[in-house]
């Protein structure tokens, strides 16, 4: 499909109401915890109270004797491990042998009501033999024993990777100037408003049904089949609309599998609804990352060599961690030209809730480092940081040093747009004491180029059914997590068929009724599901056009679609209504059902580790942030944000704006106040290692009164690989916000806070320190593996 093909103008680019908006504003949309069935039982998990310990015994007799208790499960019921990545099958639905963090589930109680289940769960006694606890990556490196897991790259290193794209040390040696900086990006969590919930039941046909708040029903389907030992065809996973995901619901979770087993065991529907604290324990959020960046430039400011080392605090399980590790290096090359690039990444296990993918997956951390370092470089060499970025921006139809293929890029236009809108050139440096402007830019993928487990099948499939009444139903395994996935599906089908999005009914998030879509992650839905939808709709359009052509006695090429009609483009008054076209097509060729699918192009990167980073397209963003810094307290107030996003084409500008501003919001939360932080008590008194504040009160998500004004600008430059030119918007616009804030703080008061969040304490400490800086000062010795050496495209073949 090339852009422009099959456009009818009926849906793309119009600010139409989302198809799912009505259900959401009336309260009729049913989220997972809104589902209930007659005879439903309730499940509560018993979670580890120790951060690292062998399980010596689980005493359940007292709980079993409680009124209303129907079943109790332990690790013995779940001996088969699972995990999202094939290389990290390291979780058990209930712990077997040992617990690895406070909150690891050990047992489960099923009872008539939730309060009874909770009361009985409190009576389950677990006997432990405590083990030494690892609280940080530094400790993990210096404490190889005891190992948290018995796999990985040795000791408590989960994964260590090394990639060299050209000889960076030589490039730095030959550079005019070399800059070295250390950065730290704190961990934070998704905090979707909806807490995870699952309802599992055996339907009247004997099919085990798991309705769950999951962004990846397909992967849950695979994991559940594996752990429960059932053929996948005997399991149906439903993903109802979710109250936000942001990556927090992309792993298969222990509670989902336990609920399923409990439903099989009791023969009754079983519901589990996690508390907010439990959601913090599920986590899979942003990895805390320590970074060392070295960049060598020539006299003109061009980057000759760039080196990134990252040290990730992975928490207690693998999750997406191997991918996350690669992502802390993969997209470093996509925004600015760099001749050579060197990446080292290491993820360690620690006795804390596992980290995973959160909006931007692994890339906001090094993006923070890179964008702040560039600000420092520009300051040192006397360049305007906006001009430097414009001058050094990567170009369309080029390869990066690590073989990523950039097709369209609107980076320069994004930069120019925010520079103009914010009055950067006129206002910067003239705002008075305590006020400042900062700039940053970024790029993100439109879907991962490779699937999580290797296969040759499509990443997304769409089936269309056109009925005699003119109804169109689109079936796709995609999941609506709030981003507007369902609306994109309906909108694209409608565009091709000349209908309104509201004319298209969608059936999504159902592994039995719809073809596979890999899920709502990696910003893949608009591009991948979108292309599959356009593919399916185009086939339907061909059949309808042929039928209409016969009736109108014109060539099929002259059949136009629009306004619910098929018409002669040379004489629009000659037309038939859509339903009639379907009937004619059905009479001519049988049931009008079509399929479409999408598989991304084969990546150019053909080396070990090259599977992370390639994408059919990259979106670009740039932001200018204005801050006011109170020098007496260090309090930073964001006054305004100007953000431009290279969307390719906005399918729905109102929805796109919402994604941009939501990303800005989340980026501001991360850089100003949010922290998934832990507390270790004095080791001589206690081995406790606990989440510092697993609540909506202690985890600081900005309120309405903390949100500044935002001016959003969309840069439209259609991407050939995107449906009607569209690129992603769900994640990319978050990326420039944290570094732009840090750079603005520097512009305002002249100090560098080289770590997130940029809190008043850190700003004030930097103001009082002679170095005028707050941030990490050391990077530990890491046993890097032998690097994979790949010449950059301009130095040779991969």
């Amino acid at each position: 499909m090339t852009p422009g093909d099959g456009r009818t103008g009926s849906a793309v680019g119009r600010p139409l109401r989302r198809i799912d908006a009505r259900g959401k504003v009336t309260g009729e949309t049913l989220f997972a915890d809104d589902l209930s069935l007659p005879g439903m039982l309730h499940l509560k998990l018993v979670r580890a109270s120790l951060p690292h310990a062998r399980i010596l015994g689980v005493e359940t007799a007292a709980a079993r004797g409680m009124e209303g208790v129907r079943a109790i499960l332990t690790g013995a019921d779940f001996l088969v491990p699972f995990g999202i990545l094939p290389v990290s099958q390291d979780e058990h639905a209930l712990c077997v042998g040992k617990v690895r963090f406070v909150g690891d589930p050990v047992a489960a109680v099923v009872a008539d009501d939730e309060l009874s289940a909770e009361e009985a769960a409190a009576l389950v006694e677990v006997r432990y033999e405590p083990l030494a606890t690892i609280a940080s990556p530094e400790e993990a490196l210096s404490t190889p024993e005891p190992r948290i897991h018995d796999y990985g790259d040795g000791g408590n290193v989960h994964k260590a990777v090394a990639l060299d794209f050209g000889d960076v040390p030589a490039a730095l040696a030959g550079a005019d100037r070399v800059f070295e900086d250390l950065f730290f990006y704190q961990g934070n969590t998704h905090l979707a408003m909806e807490q995870h919930a699952t309802l599992a039941y055996v339907d009247p046909d004997g099919l085990l049904t798991i309705a769950s708040s999951t962004q990846t029903p397909h992967y849950l389907h695979r994991a559940a089949a594996r752990v429960l030992g059932l053929p996948p065809a005997r399991i149906r996973v439903l993903a109802p609309p979710q109250g936000g995901g942001f990556g927090g619901k992309t792993d298969p979770f222990n509670h989902e599998i336990v609920a399923a087993r409990a439903a099989l065991l009791t023969g009754r529907p079983v519901k589990i609804a996690l508390t907010r604290e439990e959601v913090f324990l599920c986590h899979r959020g942003r990895h805390p990352v320590l970074m060392r960046m070295r960049t060598g430039i020539d006299r003109s400011g061009r980057i000759l060599g760039h080196s990134v080392e990252t040290l990730l605090d992975g928490g207690a399980y693998g999750s997406y961690g191997v991918a996350s590790t690669f992502y802390t290096g993969a997209l470093e090359t996509v925004t600015y030209r760099m001749d050579r690039y060197r990446f080292r990444g290491c993820r360690t296990f620690t006795n804390k809730p596992p980290c995973g993918p959160k909006r931007g997956h692994g890339t906001p951390q090094p993006r923070f480092g890179l964008e702040v370092q560039i600000d420092k470089i520009c300051e040192q060499i006397g360049r305007d940081p906006a001009e430097w970025r414009i001058e050094n921006a990567t170009q369309p139809d080029t390869l990066t040093a690590n073989w990523l293929e950039i097709r369209t890029t609107g980076l320069v236009r994004c930069l120019e747009a925010v520079v103009a809108a914010s009055g950067w050139r006129e206002r910067r440096g003239k705002l008075g004491r305590g006020r400042g402007l900062g700039i940053a830019s970024s790029a993100y993928m439109c879907g991962a180029g490779l699937p999580i487990y290797f296969n040759d099948m499509p990443h997304s499939g769409v089936q269309l059914l056109l009925d005699r009444g003119g109804g169109v139903t689109a079936f796709c395994g995609s999941t609506e997590v709030g981003q507007g996935s369902d609306n994109v599906l309906a909108l694209l089908v409608a565009e091709v068929l000349g209908l309104l999005p509201s004319d298209v009914k969608v059936v999504t998030g159902d592994t039995s009724l719809a073809p596979v879509d890999l899920g709502s992650y990696s910003s893949r839905v608009t591009l991948m599901m979108g292309n599959a939808a356009v593919d399916a709709a185009s086939r339907a359009r061909e059949r309808l056009a042929a039928a209409a052509a016969t009736r109108l006695e014109i060539p099929a090429e002259r059949v136009g679609f629009g306004g619910g009609k098929l018409f002669d483009v040379s004489d629009p008054s000659r037309s038939i209504v859509f339903a009639q076209a379907v009937q004619l097509a059905e009479a001519a060729g049988g049931t009008v059902g079509t399929t479409g699918s999408y598989r991304p192009p084969t990546p150019k990167a053909r080396f070990k580790g090259g599977g992370v980073g390639p994408s059919p397209a990259y979106s670009y963003s740039a932001a200018v942030v204005e801050v006011a810094v109170d020098e007496a307290t260090g309090v930073v107030r964001v006054v305004k944000v100007w953000i431009a996003h290279d969307i390719g084409r906005a399918l729905n500008p109102v929805a796109v704006r919402g994604q941009v501003e939501g990303s800005v919001y989340m980026g501001l939360g991360e850089v100003l106040m949010e922290e998934q932080a832990f507390c270790r008590l004095p080791p001589r008194l206690s081995s406790a290692l606990v989440h510092r504040g697993p609540s909506m009160l202690d985890y600081k998500s900005p309120t309405s009164l903390d949100m500044p004004a935002v001016e959003t600008i969309l840069v439209e430059n259609p991407e050939p690989n995107g449906p009607f030119g569209a690129k992603e918007v769900g994640q990319g616009p978050l990326l420039p916000i944290p570094p732009a804030v840090a750079n603005a703080v520097h512009d305002a008061v002249g100090v560098r806070v080289d770590e997130s969040p940029v809190t008043p304490e850190k700003v004030l400490a930097a103001l009082r320190d002679p170095s005028r800086r707050f941030g990490p000062t050391t990077f530990p010795e890491v046993p890097w593996p032998e690097p994979v050496r790949v010449a950059p495209p301009w130095e040779g073949k991969p």
Binding site: V25, E28, Q195, R413, P653, R657, G658, Y665, M707, N717
Partner: protein, 189 residues
Amino acid sequence: MSPAGPVPEHGPRARSRISLIVNTQPRELLVDPWKTLLELLREDLGLTGTKHGCELGECGACAVLLDGDLALSCLVPAVECDGRHVTTVEGLRDGPELHPLQAAFADHGATQCGYCTPGMLVAARWVLDRNPSATREEIAEALSGQLCRCTGYLQIYEAVESAARVLRGEPPSPPRLPAADRSVPDDAR
């Protein structure tokens, strides 16, 4: 003057009968004293439009109107609702037509995942009930107990302002569009 009879007591073993008006409908129920209004609405009355995000009064997702005042149903014991009026998101509209706030939320992109939406709508109704011409600042203040992780709040404000216009008899404002840069790109293919 003192009331007759023993002090009214509920539970712990016997449930209590309460009657209340939910979305203008009189309801009579037996409740345990430890049940909150949130649980009563969602579990006893099947009104799952009211959501929950923390059950501790920290997020605003469970907000309802209690005797016309914005309140968090997760922190109200159901037994204390005897004789009172409760309005939930389901009670905003009467019939198939959306309430102007609901229509505005749908049109202005004020609902993404939709999970904070019921509480947000109820809070918006509360502020406009008291002040039909609320300013942007007053709206932001009134909604400051309602966390939203999706929108960044700005499209919500615009929706409330547009609905306020409709409620005052003025035409709604169209959804605000982002500035679009479609100029011939320097980096066009």
